[in-house]
Symmetry: D2
Amino acid sequence: MKRVAILGATGLVGQRFVQLLANHPYFEISALAASNMSAAKPYKEAVAWRLDTPIPENVMDMIVQECKPTFECDYVFSALPSDIAGPIEDEFINAGYTVFSNAASHRMDDNVPLVIPEVNYQHMSIVQSQHTNGKIITNPNCSTIGLVMALKPIADLFDIEEVHVVTMQALSGAGYPGVSSLDVVDNVYPYINGEEEKIMTESKKILGNLNNGSIKPALFDIFAQCNRVPVVDGHLLSVFVKTKKPADVEQIKGAINNFQPLKTFNLPSAPEHPLVYLSQKDTPQPRLHRNLGRGMTVSVGQLTQFSERSLRFLALVHNTIRGAAGCAILNAEMYETMRY
Amino acid sequence: MKRVAILGATGLVGQRFVQLLANHPYFEISALAASNMSAAKPYKEAVAWRLDTPIPENVMDMIVQECKPTFECDYVFSALPSDIAGPIEDEFINAGYTVFSNAASHRMDDNVPLVIPEVNYQHMSIVQSQHTNGKIITNPNCSTIGLVMALKPIADLFDIEEVHVVTMQALSGAGYPGVSSLDVVDNVYPYINGEEEKIMTESKKILGNLNNGSIKPALFDIFAQCNRVPVVDGHLLSVFVKTKKPADVEQIKGAINNFQPLKTFNLPSAPEHPLVYLSQKDTPQPRLHRNLGRGMTVSVGQLTQFSERSLRFLALVHNTIRGAAGCAILNAEMYETMRY
Amino acid sequence: MKRVAILGATGLVGQRFVQLLANHPYFEISALAASNMSAAKPYKEAVAWRLDTPIPENVMDMIVQECKPTFECDYVFSALPSDIAGPIEDEFINAGYTVFSNAASHRMDDNVPLVIPEVNYQHMSIVQSQHTNGKIITNPNCSTIGLVMALKPIADLFDIEEVHVVTMQALSGAGYPGVSSLDVVDNVYPYINGEEEKIMTESKKILGNLNNGSIKPALFDIFAQCNRVPVVDGHLLSVFVKTKKPADVEQIKGAINNFQPLKTFNLPSAPEHPLVYLSQKDTPQPRLHRNLGRGMTVSVGQLTQFSERSLRFLALVHNTIRGAAGCAILNAEMYETMRY
Amino acid sequence: MKRVAILGATGLVGQRFVQLLANHPYFEISALAASNMSAAKPYKEAVAWRLDTPIPENVMDMIVQECKPTFECDYVFSALPSDIAGPIEDEFINAGYTVFSNAASHRMDDNVPLVIPEVNYQHMSIVQSQHTNGKIITNPNCSTIGLVMALKPIADLFDIEEVHVVTMQALSGAGYPGVSSLDVVDNVYPYINGEEEKIMTESKKILGNLNNGSIKPALFDIFAQCNRVPVVDGHLLSVFVKTKKPADVEQIKGAINNFQPLKTFNLPSAPEHPLVYLSQKDTPQPRLHRNLGRGMTVSVGQLTQFSERSLRFLALVHNTIRGAAGCAILNAEMYETMRY
């Protein structure tokens, strides 16, 4: 049993870490850390719990600590807001901790793995080129994770030339209190700060090639436009893809449903089906399908071919499970298994 | 003063016709018609009024009639559902009425004008090739209207090669009761029957060329994906465009703000600015901008250039005013002015 | 293992029966029945599944039957719409079936038990006075269940003189498609047909006394006003109570948290805590608390005393679990245990 | 033409003042003031405008000032948040300004009028007992205004003994960003800080008697419970009333529709009908009826008599117009007319 700490444990992603790590077979929570405002309080008082399952009994009264590298633990999960994550994570790395971060700060750093295990767990090996006391492995932005997982079988089969993606993103992605109700009641809020940039840069790194211990980003054009919609959880992505080779829709559907790259690893958080193709004309839908595979399965639907190399589909990702805490935990499980 | 009848007067678009025609300088409502279920009742009892202004006094007690060609009127506005509009409109045309239709049934017919006055009022002249007792002029689908108006300045300046559009459409577009609340609360409903097809075919006809009395559709690739979001009024469109010539963003913004092709006609329903460019990073928004120009102005924002010929923008159209009743009325005003 | 049939299996409450009966220790689904439109289709095609867990494997391909008393089964659950339930249920009763009904048709009939097991399971015995081939046991309306469960400890302690209740009810209570999205987006719809009447009559029967095999309704004044709000599941009730005896808030809170009248029966669907008092100032909330006790726990909060005999509180009930299918199943479990 | 200043001009209520005072026949805006963060910026840059009409041209570029008593103006409107309003308003009063305040700070002060002109304009005269350089007149809390206006005809006819009110309040009442979207999407948030207290104390003062220059509060019991619902504008109130005398529903409806106490004053912001009774079974509804009388009319519906002295009804008030800025402006118009 490895002891783990959670940085930013009171935020919405922090709450998901707490929820997903209750009764985890590899990891047990040994420390919860958050801002000074929360520190020294029992977790149940420090947190504005917004999940629909109760706070797990074992952390209810755990005293929240400051985000200082003084914990007794094996791994650190970082659910810190990106605007403050960088320096705090650096402190932990310098102090020798192994950090699995959901924050954006280090994602694009040269020797930092940016990993969705089902897509590019091989990239995790570049952690060996980190010449610091500790290590850091990151997972991508929540929208990027959904997009890249859905693109992976297409990329493998037919090569990608160009991607246009329009996102309809859930409220939980902005934390709590996050998005003002006045921006999403009888409205769509057509802007998410920094999100388009993240999608456009991260997806090329993840789909890039590992070459002599470094990642060479994939070469394709990608354009994103991001919107906030009044959905609690679940980012819906409307994606147009141009492939390099002539595409075949049935082949892609088959590849989606057979996509099981981690099968042999038996990781506890890995869903049986990381991708699932839904064949009804009006799917996927956030409320109905975000919890597939306990929130770890990305669902794809409405795959349509407009011309030989021109496709579109919809993809849905649970943004705080597969798109954040769940992906970080899966990274840690993979790391634990691979023992780099 | 011309007398006008409204077919489908009890539906949401019919209600907009009633609202917009109250105190109209050219037209006065002389008949309201709807299904048998509504016929013979006073309008105020037949209608499930869902607009936020009261029913105009002058039609409150008007007795709703059946949709039979027996009215004393000069023009007929059709707000009928598309699945029944065709044959009913034919009866009126055969009986010698001039019909301005918001329904899809005849839009793509060869000698039927499909007109947004600011974009292609010249196409209205093909009505002369209709060898029927009466005439029919149609306006496009609500999403198409917003898309094509926003594309027009780009098409004029730089020629369009390809368009990808993702729509986030308002509930009123589906009528009342229309969309189930369970499909849009904590959800996005990612499908609208027939909508993608309409956008893809109609836009090419509207942007096509009038040639010897017939319309030659424009040649560009267009792909659409349509979603329903919990917004009362106002369709938001996220659009990627590839131009044939190298584009210039500032030139397009200028052309949008100076787009006033109907200026000399002084039509009562024509807004001063049919298009407006909003320069804030988070615009346009349905709730804030749908009523610009009394619902007749399409607002555009976030115009961004990804590469020389690759652009994206957002457009917003009030779907039941500019996108339906308002456009039909503007067509009638133009027809009245041109006297074909 | 008893075989059970579900009438109205394709509706939202029917779907909950299907979901809750998957892997039930006493009951297995042997027949699914619905309207002629659905009959003869596999369940997965007949149903517009709107729950966020997948359709259970074992019923996916079960052929939906008509609602005719021809099933091989031990018990029948009725999730029929109230406007058609009466005669159909009568057919089943006359044919000798034991029916557990969620429909309103027979609830107020003299010798029909109207039961929430935790409140009045003793009333179930009046089923013995039914001189029909089969039997019928009903559960109350969804709002009534939440109200009466929360009132029970107060009634026991201090006697109730008067109740005012304002409901804010979830969309799933009206079925699918049910409530129009245009009635609840940027709106509250302040009317639910027949609901106030049901709350006002049913609550007195449930809290009434069993006397020589018949129920004498409780005597108190009760006034209700019902609203539909854009919440998927979970009816929130704002309740004012006047008691006959001077009340004590702390005593009531204690009684709520210790309310375990079924403890000795070990019924599989009975939650450990049928009632729970939440002490935060802003609770209960539909999204956060409706799933407590797997949807079978009614949560109470904000209990406040205005004067000696004047109180108010909020109560929350999951309307399709505790308030419908779950209560009917619990009734069946109790019936099975008691073997009347 | 009187010059007016607006304190808190960038908030949602401040925006309503700006909107309602554009083209006002008595008043012209001579100064806009807000927090230090906004001061020295042009209004259009300082404000996060959230109304669906554009910012009026004449204030677009007005430079926002600090809230210091240095304006050249005749009247000051205060839209300040209640937690900071008190001392700032005091500074203006001491400096000799006449302040019309929407803030709670001074509402319950002994010699401060708390006025809804249609209900108790006579109370305004107690301003004469203010022995300060300037004066202050306040309007009630937004919910209180709707409640008291609807209660007034009942109080006049049959005397009120007890009131229970449950509110379903709009988001704009909490300002911007205000309520977190996560608290109201698929949820009702059952708590509004301080609101119940305000309703319970203010309503007695407003309905109290003016006696020798002071107000004697009305004597009745009033209990409130307040909820936030996902509605942009318009507070809906569900009210139970016990009267002292036997009540008559038809008399009350008549009194509501004939309620025109300000008729002879011809105040520009006074609606023709301050109250209107809506007779459909499902009215009033926030989205459909909040704008009646340009947002100044309170609509009442579903008046029902349970017993001789026991009634219930629903009332709807536009919370930022009649319930805030509009009421303050009406107070100023009345003050200007009465010239105390």
